[in-house]
């Protein structure tokens, strides 16, 4: 019997059993059993996602009601191509992270907790993108948030992760409160939390003060998760403080849940035709990318630099969303995919450096790529890709967003201005990625980096897969663009989303 759809159920079952497996592993003297168990869980979950992917292909929508309740009051999952798109990314990156952790986390204790939290976090994210009503959405949203707070502060023997985790908790929880408040307003207006019914009631013109307020609260709430400036300040603290595998998850996919929330609520419920939020959101996006890039330029801590670069990249993604056109959303989703790949790659590489020399300071890490050649090459590919150098994947998606932005210029000339600011940002960001490559690969190795040894194969494997993806998507982007554009079509076709519920 399935409760929350098969992939989520799988993850929940695996995470509940993780402590048991951990004890068994210790009993039989094979401590790594729990690592393999978690990896297996994610593999099974990915496998369970496949039939869902098959059934929503061709634009169909899958509806799963929890405990056979009655609509519109009951909890419901409504899975469209967008949901499957995001879920594929979440599980895929989660899986690679989990493989990476087998080696990376071996110096840590409390692995049972670690894997329970990791699996629950992925389950939470899946629930978020599958949810068909705000109640279900919020439950899984909080599952995702709470596990991620604990994971940021996982290494609680040092002060930095604890402080970062606390800051993250305070900011993110206030974001959740905003979303909850917006939900309550929507419930008061429509008498339901179901997305499809909300679409029918709220998106109809004219907008009124309450619904605009709900929208503003939603933008702020999701904006905190998506690190939109000026709500991004938790991210540069939280992402570097977490273990690198978790940084890869947080920067790679968890912030994308915020982008998903924006996309779903703004496109479906607060329809752009009625609420015209495009320009406001675009200005926020441009602000975000500029702040992210400027701050990244001055960082001396490798992971902090990468975290600020995530802020900038979220700016690009939100800019794509703010266009609210088919090409803009396709570009945005494609960039979500590419950024999860590139940023996870970069964080996993920085984890490999950290694993080798226990330092994230760029001055101490100088020249380390000469000692860790394979990691160095992968890191270079990741940097070039995220800097938008063709023919790597980052170029393809940044290009699509820009083309979409310039295409909107014929409707309103402000899009020309905003697109050129984005282009300048891409140009500007090249400077610090290049500096990063130069520092790590060209400078004479310091005493610290001379002691580095190449990362073990268990860490190189997931990094290698991501590197290959960067190149393959760059050279042959077509299937990936089709997947993104099908997901974008699913958002734009609100009629079908509604008709799957409202008969």
């Amino acid at each position: 019997m399935e409760m929350f759809t098969a992939p989520v159920d799988t993850l929940l079952i695996f995470s509940v059993l993780t402590p048991v497996i951990y004890r068994i592993g210790i009993k039989i003297g094979f401590r790594k059993l729990v690592d393999f168990w978690a990896t297996l869980g994610l593999v099974v979950s990915l496998y369970a996602l496949y039939p869902i992917h098959d059934s929503v292909r061709a634009g169909k929508i899958l509806v799963v009601t929890v405990a056979n309740g009655l609509l519109p009051a009951s909890s419901v999952f409504e899975i469209d191509t967008l949901g499957v798109f995001m879920a594929t990314l979440f599980i895929f990156i989660g899986l690679l992270t989990s493989v990476y952790s087998i080696k990376y986390m071996e110096r840590d204790t409390r692995l049972a907790e670690y894997y329970v939290l990791l699996l629950l976090m992925v389950a939470g994210m899946l629930g978020v993108v599958f949810a068909g009503d705000f109640f279900t959405f919020f439950v899984f949203w909080e599952t995702m948030c709470i596990t991620s707070y604990v994971l940021v502060a996982f290494r609680n023997d040092r002060w930095e992760p604890v402080e970062a985790g606390f800051k993250y908790l305070i900011m993110s929880a206030s974001g959740s409160v905003m979303i909850l408040f917006a939900m309550s307003i929507l419930y008061g207006m429509a008498g339901t939390l179901n997305f499809a019914y909300l679409r029918l009631v709220i998106s109809r013109p004219p907008s009124n003060g309450w619904s605009v307020m709900a929208m503003a609260l939603m933008i702020v709430g999701f904006g905190i998760k998506a690190a939109i400036a000026p709500l991004h300040t938790w991210l540069p603290d939280a992402h570097p403080a977490a273990p690198s595998s978790i940084s890869a998850m947080l920067s790679g996919v968890v912030i994308k849940a915020g982008a998903y929330g924006l996309m779903r609520s703004l496109m479906l419920i607060f329809a752009p035709e009625t609420y015209s939020w495009q320009i406001v959101l675009a200005i926020l996006a441009v602000l975000t990318m500029t702040v992210g890039n400027l701050m990244a330029l001055t960082q001396t801590d490798l992971k902090r630099l990468l975290a600020f670069s995530s802020v900038a990249q979220m700016g690009y993604i939100v800019f794509g969303i703010s266009l609210a056109t088919s090409s803009g959303l396709t570009g945005s989703l494609f960039h979500i995919m590419n950024h999860s790949i590139m940023k996870s790659l970069l964080f996993l590489c920085s984890g490999a450096f950290l694993y080798a020399v226990e330092s994230r300071n760029l001055e101490e890490l100088a020249g380390i790529a000469k000692k860790m050649k394979i990691t160095g090459v992968m890191f270079t590919v990741g940097c070039l890709s995220i800097a938008g150098m063709p023919p790597l994947n980052g170029f393809q998606s940044e290009l699509m967003i820009l083309v979409a932005g310039l295409g909107s210029g014929s409707r309103n000339a402000i899009w020309y201005v905003l697109s050129s600011i984005m282009l300048l940002n891409i140009l500007f960001s090249v400077a610090y990625y290049l500096r990063l490559i130069q520092t790590l690969a060209l400078k004479e190795p310091t005493k610290i980096s001379l002691g580095a040894k190449e990362a073990p194969i268990g860490m190189l494997l997931p990094m290698g897969i991501l590197t290959v993806l960067c190149i393959v998507i760059g050279i042959y982007p077509d299937p990936f663009i089709s997947f993104s554009s099908n997901a974008a079509k699913a958002i734009l076709d609100a009629g079908q989303y509604v008709s799957a519920i409202v008969k």
Binding site: P390, P391, V403, L406, Q438, L442, D478, I481, S482
Partner: protein, 497 residues
């Protein structure tokens, strides 16, 4: 034409570049041989592109288009016509000889696998730029040409300065490239196509003022690559600190991709806009010419001298393009060919000088003619050609450019006629610094510390001399190249101009 010659000539060097890198890294003993293997790979594009010449002369333009990203309507295509084949052939020739030369030059250097792998990627990138039939693909290769050349400069350039100079090179070129990208994307937003062949008509539908903005943005991108004053400052640094075979490729052929792009895109697509500002551009060309020449005079470092000379020579080529006459454009394109050969010869000679004497200071050379006869011979041919001495080929290309610059309807000292006059005078500067270079290095008294200098190993002087002899042949029998480049000029401007 050999079957799929276009696809192979671009992708074979790239794939082999990766293969060479992998093979060299896998095994120390294979790493010693990657140089010869790469030279063999670099030879193939010459044959492939050479086989295109008869077809292009007979049938005119050929296009091969393949699907690439159907979901957004982007194709992957090859434009084979007199212009692209002429430039591609030069690129292939110079790159091949530079690769052979590098075998000797790299003898005592580290990391052969990476060096030769990157060189092959670089060759593939340049050929890709020239053959691209749409703007997006053009941009992809444009940047693909930047990345390997950046790595070549920073890893194998002058040790202390390479990182800083590589950064400057990358950022300058990338600023240009981003302007170019902005132009390309705006063009796409307005016309919904990236195809170069369609754009010539479709750009007519765009508002002329918008077209002018796009034109200026793209032209800026090309001029950075071409190192036109005042965005030339990366060139003297990058070209003088790069490893010498790469300097030969950068100065010899890579910057020509900028000239090619101006011809193909700025002139071919945005003809009305180009015509509108051609006099200003010609003034810029003359400034570049004179400035580069004067700066070359002041150099004491042999490679910096050649680098500034490249700036000056790019001024000549831009001058040829801005005349917007078939005569001038033919001269400009012919000068691309001449300069490619000769500047490669000169950089390769300077590499030999540095390799054998361990100094690059012009003041410490002298009287090396007797010690290195082959190198001296090659340098003399190269320098005299670029100085415009008849009957060498530089004389023909320069006289064609200047002849194209004269507008009989204007007064002698008016507008472009005045500029042409200044340009002709500045040819004297060029002649002067080249003769002075020859005098300081090969003639005069041999300093005591250079008494034991020997000629370079054959693997270095043979490719240098081969290129020099080709330049010489072009001078005596320019028709070989002129047929092709004049066909290219007519293709772009149409026979009426």
């Amino acid at each position: 034409m050999i079957e799929n010659a276009d696809v192979l000539s671009v992708f074979l060097p790239m794939v082999m570049g990766i293969a060479v890198y992998a093979a060299g890294k896998a095994n120390k003993s294979t790493e010693k041989h990657v140089g010869w293997l790469s030279a063999l790979v670099a030879l193939i594009p010459i044959i492939l592109i050479g086989s295109m010449i008869p077809d292009v002369m007979d049938k005119g333009a050929i296009r091969h288009v393949y699907p690439w990203i159907p979901s957004i309507g982007v194709t992957f295509g090859f434009q084979i016509d007199a212009l692209s084949v002429a430039i591609a052939f030069i690129i292939a020739l110079v790159s091949f000889f530079a690769t052979v030369y590098a075998i000797g030059y790299m003898e005592h250097e580290h990391g052969h696998a990476g060096y030769f792998g990157n060189t092959l990627l670089f060759i593939g990138g340049m050929l890709g730029v020239v053959f691209s039939s749409n703007l997006l693909q053009f941009y992809v290769f444009w940047e693909l040409m930047l990345i390997p050349s950046y790595f070549l400069i920073v890893f194998w350039g002058t040790p202390e300065r390479a990182a800083r100079i590589g950064f400057k090179y990358f950022i300058f070129t990338h600023v240009g490239a981003v302007c170019l990208l902005f132009g390309i994307l705006t063009t796409f937003a307005l016309t919904h196509t990236f195809e170069i062949s369609d754009l010539a008509h479709k750009i007519g539908e765009v508002n002329p003022n918008t077209a002018m903005i796009i034109f200026v943005l793209m032209l800026f991108g090309f001029m950075v690559k071409m190192a036109v004053f005042p965005v030339h400052t990366w060139l003297p640094d990058a070209h003088s600190e790069a490893p010498t075979p790469i300097s030969a490729m950068l100065s010899g052929v890579m910057i020509k991709c900028g000239a090619y792009a101006i011809t193909r895109i700025s002139l071919g697509i945005f003809f009305p806009s180009f015509k509108g500002v051609s006099t200003y551009l010609m003034a810029l060309a003359v400034v570049t010419m004179v400035y580069g020449g004067l700066m070359a005079f002041a150099q004491t470092d042999v490679k910096r001298l050649f680098a500034y000379s490249s700036v000056s020579q790019m001024g000549y080529i831009l001058f040829g393009l801005t005349t917007v006459t078939v005569m001038g454009l033919t001269g400009g394109l012919f000068h691309i060919v001449n300069h490619a050969f000769c500047k490669a010869v000169l950089f390769m000679s300077s590499g030999i000088l540095m390799h054998q004497t361990k100094t690059r200071d012009l003041r410490q050379y002298g009287g090396l003619m007797g010690k290195m006869p082959m190198t001296a011979l090659a340098s003399v041919i190269g320098a005299l050609t670029l100085a415009g001495t008849p009957p060498l080929s530089g004389f023909f290309s320069e006289s064609m450019m200047f002849a194209g610059g004269i507008n009989p309807e204007m007064g002698v000292f008016q507008g472009q006629n005045l500029l042409t006059f200044i340009a002709t005078v500045s040819a004297v500067i060029t002649a002067a610094y080249y003769l002075w270079f020859l005098w300081r290095v090969f003639f005069g008294k041999l300093p005591d510390n250079l008494k034991d200098v020997k000629e370079a190993p054959p693997v270095m002087w043979v490719p240098t001399l081969c290129l020099a002899i080709m330049a010489l042949v072009l001078g005596i029998y320019p028709q070989v190249a002129l047929n092709l480049v004049s066909a290219a000029a007519e293709l772009i401007l149409g026979p009426g101009h």
